[in-house]
């Protein structure tokens, strides 16, 4: 987080110096790979059942029609001994029925397809109240509007957060993540702008007066935070700071891409003045 501020300014300086810098789309012959299984599993404490989506990766040059994986056996268990098999609601989309997310409980998701099993465990963390949502002008571009979230981090390191931002009902795809490495036990007032990774510079980022703003605050477990942190590393892709790229740290065993997150969900809304 202090790092991001630094990088922003260094990047600004780089751009200033490189006044003549230019971008263009190029043709690259890229290597191909075997199709990989991608799992996205979520279980929130909002009374909804577990949702899992299964699809497969493509070669880079292909059109973005990611093939759904049907006919997989997807089971969810919790640490009380409850167990259910998710049904396939639509191709590649699996839904639970009975198990609900409860803070403090560990959940195990098992996906079996093509003769291989992939297992992930996620603990739904203690819920930290979402104290307030407000807006503030941006630091670098003072005409812009940014969402600011406020909460009080409980004492003891390891609290991790994921924020999702909706403008006029549409989701901003950026994963705004935060943990308490530098803010343990503090009252936190954080602008979402500085926490992001990925996303696009489309209008979903550009909040305007009169918009309805909705922000969901999730308490996520530290392994899921690690997943999104390493995912953001490759989504950010700042040219001056590109590190050697690597696949995000998945919490699935067996070599699947993606994650399984048992998390809280607290929502606040406001109309931007």
């Amino acid at each position: 987080m202090p790092r991001l501020n630094t990088q922003l300014l260094l990047a600004a300086a780089a751009v200033l110096l490189a006044g003549t810098g230019c971008e263009k789309t190029i043709d690259l012959k890229l290597n191909t790979s075997d199709s990989q299984l991608v799992i996205e599993g979520n279980l929130a404490d909002d009374g909804q059942p577990c949702q899992v989506s299964l699809n497969r990766s493509l070669n880079y040059a292909e059109t973005n029609n990611f093939p759904a994986v049907s006919g997989a056996t997807v089971t969810l268990t919790d640490d009380t001994g409850a167990r259910e098999t998710l049904r396939e609601a639509s191709p590649g989309q699996y839904r639970g029925t009975t198990i609900r997310g409860v803070a403090g409980h560990a959940y195990t998701l098992r996906v079996e397809t093509g003769g291989t099993a992939y297992v992930a465990v996620s603990t739904l963390p203690v819920v930290v109240p979402f104290d307030a949502l407000r807006t503030a002008p941006g630091i670098f571009d003072t005409k812009s509007i940014q969402a600011v979230v406020e909460y009080t981090d409980p004492i003891g390191e390891g609290n991790s957060y994921l924020f999702r931002q909706y403008r006029n009902g549409r989701l901003n795809k950026t994963f705004f993540i935060q943990n308490d490495k530098f803010t343990d036990g503090k009252r936190v007032s954080q602008s979402l702008r500085n926490m992001g990774g990925g996303g696009t510079a489309d209008d979903l980022d550009k909040l305007a007066s009169g918009d309805s703003l909705r922000v969901e605050m999730q308490n996520i477990d530290p392994n899921v935070y690690e997943y999104f942190r390493t995912l953001n590393q490759i989504l950010q892709n700042n040219p001056a700071f590109s590190t050697t790229p690597a696949n995000p740290k998945s919490n699935f065993s067996g070599g699947a891409l993606g994650y399984f997150s048992a998390h809280s969900s607290r929502v606040r809304r406001l109309r931007i003045p």
Partner: protein, 780 residues
Amino acid sequence: MHLRFSLLGLCLLLLLASGPARAQSRVTLSGTVKDASSGENLSGATIRIVELSGVGTGANAYGFFTLTVPAGAYTVEVSFVGFATQQRSVTASASQRLDFKLAPGGSELTEVVVTARSTDAGISKAQMGVETIDLKQIAKVPVLFGEKDVIKTLTLLPGIKSAGEGSSGFTVRGGAVDQNLILLDEAPVYNASHLLGFFSTFNSDAIKDLTVYKGGMPAQYGGRLSSVVDIKMKDGNNQQLHGSGGIGLIASRLALEGPITKDKGSFLVTARRTYADIFLKLSSNPTTRSSSLYFYDLNAKANYVLNERNRVFFSGYLGRDALGFSNTFGQSYGNQTGTLRWNHLFSDRIFSNTSLIFSKYDYQIKISSNDRNFTIDSKIQDWNLKQDFEFYPSSTQTLRFGGQAIYHTITPGHVTADASSGINATADKTNYSLETAAYVSHDWQAAPRLNFTTGLRLSAFSLLGPGTYSSYDAAGNVLAATDYARNKFLKTYVKLEPRFAASLQLNEASSVKASYARNVQNLHLLSNANASSPTDLYIPTSFNVKPEVADQVSAGYYRTLGPKKSYSLTVETYYKALQNQLDYRDGTQLQGNFDVEASLLYGTGRAYGIEFLMRKDVGRLTGWLGYTLSRSERKFTEINQGAYFPSRQDRTHDLSVVAIYQLNPKWSFSGTFVTSTGNAVTFPVGKYQIGGQIVSYFGLRNADRMPFYQRLDLGATYEKPHQEGHRFHSSWTFSVYNALGRENAYSIRFEADPNDPSRTRAVQTALFKFIPSATYNFNF
């Protein structure tokens, strides 16, 4: 202890090898060689006895020489490229002092001499893998924004590669950026870059010359695996007061030098500052107005000859970069170095230099936004005591020996914040270490055409208390953390570094050489970004991090060509094996990482290649052509299933051409052309979707290549004709960087195509294309 005795034994052996004094009485001629106009030492000047074929020597780094010959009447000849050769008749019945002052230019006034190194010297000496850049040589080489830069020019030599467009980082023979020891008047410079690396920290006004050792390092150097870049500051003119300066696109420079006491002492002060921030003040945007973006540096040097046997020097450097954004963000970083030196002659055959060296690099980041006010501080600081002796037992031998002790204090970035801040302060994890070394090196002309340099360096590195150090399992989880008390030696590594070089002169114009050198490195830079970042982290060798070791063997062929020996050809080939190399686990974040050792991976590496260099140092057209064919690979159990993979700096082909043409006394033109294979990188091998975002899927590390790099720079220099009786001279330098306008890929990113969401695309960013600049230089 056993090792120390062996070393002592070796010293004695070498002394005995110098042979008993012969019956005929021998005398020693010693003295200094200086530039008559400025009093600068002419290190590397050749001193020979005309009557005795093959008897000669070179002036050392301080311009001192000594020659022991049978008593008799001789003609002593002193020569140095760019200076009039001087002869003096000497009746040597007893040892005597001979000081020479050479006049610049000499009989070759019409020819432009761009190098200060005799082309012959490279043929006869055993030392290989060495290149020297004279500042006069680079003055006309076109550079980015017209800012003369020794480090940028260095990367035009074979085997030395720029770490990236606009970067001051460089790699030597497949090594990493941190494996270069950059010395400014003996003081290590830890971060040699300004403004993200677009400029190096070395103000060319203050620099006399630069010598780089790519292999076969002499035993007096140690501490880094790949290279030693030895930069010497000018001593300052001890004849009369002179000033010089320049006004460029980015920065202005001013230098003043002159005698403290004529012929005895002189000083030099140079300053440089950028002024981009002055334009920021003109902005209509208040945030931009209150922002800052600048760097400056100051160099100072003074020396004084106390008497014929004693001379003292002081050199200092202070440089700082500052970046600030409104009142919310401020970052500053820079180097400070200071060197106190004392030259002492114990006898006319034993030269001694004692140096006390201070070196520091630090950065500070201040954030004040909302309720989160905090500061991040980091520094690396050295106190360094060094003693070197040069002993000349006979005209065919030189014995160098000495020792060094460096006390390192390293403070990784830590946060300070008061209780009202939304950010917690973090623990100060300062660590302390002691690096010591002793060496002996023996140059021996065994036969008129056969030279040997044999050396041994004993280096030790001790991690000192206080501090907390952890042990880790294979996955990087902490097993145990232990607190250690102050002044305790926690862990000591002792290494022997043998060095050996031999040369055989085949005839007047050619020679072959071979060398072996082992180097050890105990400070490791952790950086995972493309651009050199001021917040890159230095860590010492510790319980977990072992000393890096490199063994390099090389062989070469050297030849002068042409009727006036105006061309020289060097072909060198090398193989280097690397141990205890560092890399990181996937996804490691280095900044704000308090347990960085947990993220490290340890492996090995190898690098090999062949380098060709054709130079022309005299005549109207001067310059060089360098080509390198090379490979650099690393091997880590955790990466690419333990197979060798190309390191980031692996570039198969690398070609550079530098040409300077003196049209007439007023105009000269120059051009630089470079082209090379792109760096090894990791591109996606697939893609998938997470939360509606397209994510790249990566396969093997560094399995892809950036597009090849190509750049042509052009320059022209106009020197205003001298006016009789006027001391003021001025010149204009014009240059165009990347004159072909080729868009060289600085980075390539992969993203969803905004015009067609069903597709993805690769977008290349290029930095500098067709950058013209003009610089006005003057001196008086």
